[in-house]
């Protein structure tokens, strides 16, 4: 084998190793999270752990159900606010905004995506918590406050992925509709948006994933009480928060229970990812192989 060919061979194998690195890492991550988290399922029971209403490590109570509900409530409420705003904004960017304004919006969204989550949390703590307290009563540390912060944090994800989906709708569709005498708004409503729906759903699920996984920004404003909220002004605790709040001093079963919380979180995220992939795949089909 000439030195050329040997070099080519080695390079290809080396690159292959870098490519499968992420798979190896995921396997190690799963292995370690399960290794540390599995004992809680054995000792406390899977169902007791997932559906238990009480979380009191000092009394050996390890039910995470209130936090599952907490995570879902915060996420749901933030999607309720973020989805309309970001889809409107994505359509605005893709179809309506004049070039000059788009030149402001694009970096705005990139910067919003780049602000550290702790800074968002800090902003929420200093500005939103007092605002909610004064406007709506209570302590201000609430599901609502956390949802508002998450809304802002997931805006860039939903906007940019939706915008891509809207932009990848073939130009011909739009021209055909306009040529038939449809107005711009009719064209968007009846042609462009429906064609982009799978991509928009992917965007929403990705935003949802980010909301479920967000930790510190939520801790800083949500109040972190382990209870099922009665109103959006009640404090709640998310799964992520539970880990971050207690890991610093947890030992023994408590330590395992926090890894167990991570397993629940991990499974929720994986479900979302698989759903997102399903729609992403559909999107390719819908646009007839024209995707990218």
């Amino acid at each position: 084998m000439s030195s050329n060919k040997l070099e080519e061979y080695l390079v290809e194998k080396g690159l292959f190793l870098t490519a499968i690195f992420s798979i190896i890492i995921i396997l190690i991550i799963i292995a370690f999270i399960f290794r540390e988290g599995f004992p809680i399922f054995q000792e406390y029971g899977v169902l007791n752990f997932i559906f238990g209403m009480n979380w009191a490590p000092s009394d050996e109570q390890y039910g995470v159900f209130t936090m599952i509900v907490g995570s879902l409530c915060i996420t749901g409420l933030s999607l309720l606010m973020a989805v309309p705003l970001s889809i409107l904004c994505a359509i605005f960017m893709a179809e309506i905004a004049p070039k000059t304004f788009r030149k402001i919006l694009k970096p705005t969204i990139e910067t919003l995506a780049g602000i550290p989550s702790v800074v968002y949390g800090f902003f929420g703590l200093i500005v939103l918590v007092p605002l909610v307290r004064v406007q709506f009563g209570g302590t201000g540390f609430s599901m609502l406050t956390a949802s508002i912060i998450l809304t802002i944090m997931i805006l860039p994800t939903i906007i940019s992925v939706s915008e891509d989906a809207l932009r990848s709708v073939p130009h011909e569709y739009k021209e055909a509709s306009l040529a038939l005498g449809a107005t711009q708004w009719q064209t968007i409503k009846n042609v462009i948006f429906p064609a982009a729906i799978p991509g928009v759903i992917t965007a929403i699920i990705l935003g949802m994933g980010r909301a479920v996984g967000e930790t510190l920004a939520v801790i800083m404003v949500a109040g972190n009480v382990t209870q099922i909220p009665n109103s959006i002004l009640d404090p709640v605790r998310a799964l992520t928060s539970n880990i971050a709040l207690e890991m610093g001093y947890a030992t023994g079963v408590h330590y395992n229970a926090l890894f167990g919380t991570a397993i629940v979180l991990f499974i929720m995220i994986m479900v979302l990812l698989v759903i997102a992939n399903y729609f992403h795949y559909k999107k390719k089909v819908v646009i007839g192989g024209g995707y990218l």
Partner: protein
Amino acid sequence: MQTVFWASGIITVIILLVIIGYILIKGLPAINLEFLLAEPIDSGESGGIAPMIVSSIYVTLVAGIVAAPLGVGAAVYLAEYAGENKVVKLIRFGAETLASIPSIVFGLFGLSFFVIFLGMGWSLFAGGLVLALMALPTIFQVAEVSIEAVPRSYREGSLALGATKWETIYRVVLPAAIPGITTGVILGLARAISEAAAIMFVVGSALSMPISIFDPGRPLPLHLYVLATEGISMENAFGTAAVMVILILIITVVTNTLVERYQKKMMGR
């Protein structure tokens, strides 16, 4: 209807301006040379944030040095060598999974694997490795897109001159894809430099100046989190937040300018 669309765009811009404006207005007065160069006193109640800046630089460097070659290598493999097969699909799914694992789960993994299992102890090095894993999918995904965007004609031109495949990649494809790759690396590292949850149980949260990367430390976002949640000093918290926001803005602007300049030079405009 037009009004609603315009409103949605304007609201988005206003949100950004309010957040950044508020942080900067409240934080800038706290920033001076002493704040940047001094060590914190009384857990950060007064004094500066120099050790935190150094910690942030250390973890980001480690993350970059580890993640950039891995991410770019994987991108090159998928774009240039692999066809469409099961392994490739698995690799892509792997990267997506890595991208969507919550940061706190990375934190637990870092604690149980790097700190305890591999015996690294609480250190900036271990924190950097965790952040490398978080930055990896971003670098990989952006790099792959920009490598695939390099026209096939460049590759053919090079091969026809008798260059080998690797020479073609190394001398023609990668230089042409550098602006995109750089953007990917910076995006990945921006994520790393902003991250607190993933490293809070890994870096040890020490307040003193780290001498080597194997010392424990406390990067800026973690410091901000501690200052704010433990109510130590709001003034210094604002200062720290402002430093981070400025840092992120500088990184974004500088990268964009460099990338644009390189592209102009390359394309002869």
